[in-house]
């Protein structure tokens, strides 16, 4: 009896509509959050910058500032209002994955060659052909299915021969992989948020600063160069940066806007410059982000699995050959197998050509 309420909650949360509602809530919350300025990351850890930013917000929103601050619109994407539905969506995604795992694996790896009789009446596409050459029929059907990209298995039961053609059978697993990838993506984002750090520095020429955060690294500005377009606007700029540990140089290189320098899982990014002539100070950003690799790997997996799910739909055709050259066909495909209906009809047409005297009945 104790299992019953749990089962009801489980069944409710694994419904497709619940996931859809959560996605809708999240996108509405994200859209709402985009309408308000968010506290920039440097201000969140620097009291002086935070005071400046709050003064700026106070000037803009006036009396509404306290109210908006109370509902955390300026930290919207880190507020419970946004994070609770996000976590709930992650939980629902995990539950859906667990809920469907067995069924999907069975479909992918253990689909039986011969289904029940009901398949030949209840499947979305069915057909019945007679007058076919009984002796050659298994080979003919097998070849027709193979030519269409189906992987064919067969089984005999007395006088009856069953053949089952499967296409993109493993694609069934892609939905599960997509859901797992989403979970890993959120896990990676959690790692970035919980264990990552960023620190900005303005470094004068030939000077060095400690990176901190227990990294024992220091950065030194060894030079800066800038190139300009004919109208004087900036084309590109780069800083020569040395990474030091205990006063010893462990790495050196050029840092461009799109080309950071990496040392011991700390990335050094060029954010800007000040000065002129031959003396430029550079603004560098040191970043340690243990979640980045997870997030990008998860997104690649997500991309691959959604591509497979949406563009390589699973489909099967089952054939039953009975005594006297009677052939019964049943076909099923996922909704986005857009040409399956046409393909099934073409298969029936092709098979009917083999008949000595055929009666065709396609549904």
């Amino acid at each position: 009896m104790a299992r019953r309420p749990f089962r009801q909650v489980w069944d409710f949360l694994t419904r497709l509509k619940v996931a859809a509602v959560l996605v809708l809530i999240l996108l509405l919350l994200a859209a709402l959050g985009s309408c308000f300025p968010q506290i920039p990351p440097p201000a969140a850890v620097d009291a002086e910058q935070l005071a400046q930013w709050e003064a700026h917000v106070q000037a803009r929103y006036g009396v509404l500032r306290d109210l908006l601050g109370a509902v955390r619109v300026f930290r919207w994407f880190k507020s419970p209002v946004f994070l609770v539905p996000l976590v709930l969506l992650a939980v629902v995604t995990l539950m859906c994955t667990l809920d469907r795992w067995r069924v999907v694996c069975r479909r992918a790896f253990r689909s039986p060659v011969s289904g029940s009789d009901a398949v030949f009446t209840a499947a979305p596409h069915t057909s019945r052909l007679t007058g076919l050459p009984a002796a050659d029929l298994p080979c003919i059907v097998r070849e027709c299915l193979r030519q269409r990209g189906f992987r064919v298995r067969s089984a005999r039961s007395g006088d009856v021969i069953n053949l089952r053609g499967e296409r993109n059978q493993l694609a069934t697993l892609a939905t599960l992989v997509t859901h797992l990838a989403l979970l890993f993506l959120l896990l990676g984002a959690g790692l970035s948020y919980g264990w990552g750090w960023r620190e900005g520095f303005i470094i004068e020429p030939d000077e060095s600063v400690e990176v901190g955060h227990g990294s024992s690294l220091a950065l030194r500005n060894d030079g800066f160069s800038i190139s300009r377009y004919p109208d004087g606007s900036v084309s590109t700029y780069q800083a020569q940066v040395a990474v030091l540990r205990g006063g010893q140089e462990v790495k050196r290189g050029s840092v461009w806007v799109n080309q950071p320098l990496t040392c011991d899982s700390v990335g050094v990014y060029l954010q800007g410059y000040q000065g002129g002539g031959n003396r430029y100070s550079v603004t560098l950003l040191a970043v340690h982000d243990p979640g980045y690799g997870w997030v990008i790997a998860a997104m690649f997996v997500l991309l691959a699995s959604t591509t497979v799910t949406l563009n390589f739909p699973r489909g099967w055709i089952e054939a039953r050959i009975e005594a006297g050259g009677l052939l019964r066909l049943a076909g099923w495909a996922e909704r986005h197998a857009f040409d399956f209906e046409r393909e099934f009809a073409a298969l029936v047409r092709e098979l009917s050509h083999w008949a000595v005297s055929t009666q065709e009945d396609v549904v």
């Binding site: 996931a19 859809a20 799109n258 970043v287 990008i296 959604t306 591509t307 563009n311 909704r335």
Partner: protein, 272 residues
């Protein structure tokens, strides 16, 4: 010059497609497809010449992005027309392209001028990120045109059976879903490559910048459609409505976000 001609040809193509839908005459169909192909050729020529003149890919501001967006919608549409061997959706789909083209041709001369490449845009990820996003947007534009066609009374017959020259609603929906299936992975790739590029340039793959938030909103919207699609009660006109609204979200991400940033005075690194 080339863009003006392409814009004119796009209008001509839409009129020809409408005329073809009404009359069903073969020559009007060829005229419509021909105008579309010429329009595409002119946009392609304009983009290539612009790229050669600038010395970089024409993907660096909203004007150039809009031209590429039109190009993507027309290319995806012509692929659909070729595989469908039908032209009845042409007028509806090209309306989406015309909307974006109108945005492009109404930009001020300053916005249309070729600009130097900013240091932040000097990255191979620019081409990969923008082109993959564009292909996604192009497919969503085609899906929206088909959705619009499905919604307008008298353009499609209900159910699966044909009825004269009226297109079968089931066929429209299938093609609309096929366009979504094509577009969603490209949008995902666009967001993924954008994240990699942002990590290289700014040291963070995601920063809740308004443009990033709206890219996420767009992605979530289409994710929602893909989740509602298997539900029988959401098929047909309701799904078509969501797809049309989805294109509105795409357009807002493209042109609405800069407006939002200006109006609400937000900070955004995606100023280009």
């Amino acid at each position: 010059m080339l863009i003006g001609l392409a814009y004119g040809m796009l209008w001509a193509a839409i009129l020809a497609y409408f005329f073809h839908t009404r009359t069903g005459r073969g020559w009007t169909g060829w005229l419509a497809t021909g105008s579309t192909v010429i329009s595409l050729g002119l946009v392609t020529a304009a983009l290539v010449s612009r790229g050669l003149a600038a010395g970089h890919w024409p993907l660096t501001n909203r004007y150039e992005f809009a031209l590429c967006f039109v190009w993507a919608i027309v290319v995806v549409y012509l692929l659909v027309e070729t595989s469908w061997r039908e032209r009845q959706a042409g007028a509806w789909v090209l309306l989406a392209a015309l909307l974006v083209a109108t945005y492009a041709v109404t930009r001020s001369p300053d916005e249309q001028a070729i600009a130097w490449l900013l240091p932040a845009l000097r990255s191979p990820w620019l081409q990969i990120h923008v082109l993959s996003t564009l292909l996604g947007y192009g497919a969503f534009g085609v899906a929206a045109g088909l959705g619009l066609m499905r919604l307008v009374p008298g353009t499609a017959s209900e159910g699966e059976g044909g009825a004269g020259r009226l297109f079968v609603s089931g066929e429209i929906e299938r093609t609309m879903e096929r366009a979504l299936a094509l577009g969603f992975p490209w949008l995902t790739l666009g967001i993924l490559t954008g994240a990699i590029w942002a990590q290289n340039a700014w040291g963070r793959y995601w920063g809740w910048d308004p443009k990033e938030v709206w890219a996420l909103v767009t992605w979530l919207w289409y994710l929602l459609i893909l989740h509602l699609r298997p539900l029988r009660s959401w098929r047909g006109r309701r799904l078509a409505s969501l797809v049309v609204v989805g294109f509105g979200v795409v357009l807002f991400t493209f042109v609405g976000v800069p407006w939002l940033v200006r109006t609400v005075r937000l900070e955004s690194l995606h100023g280009f």
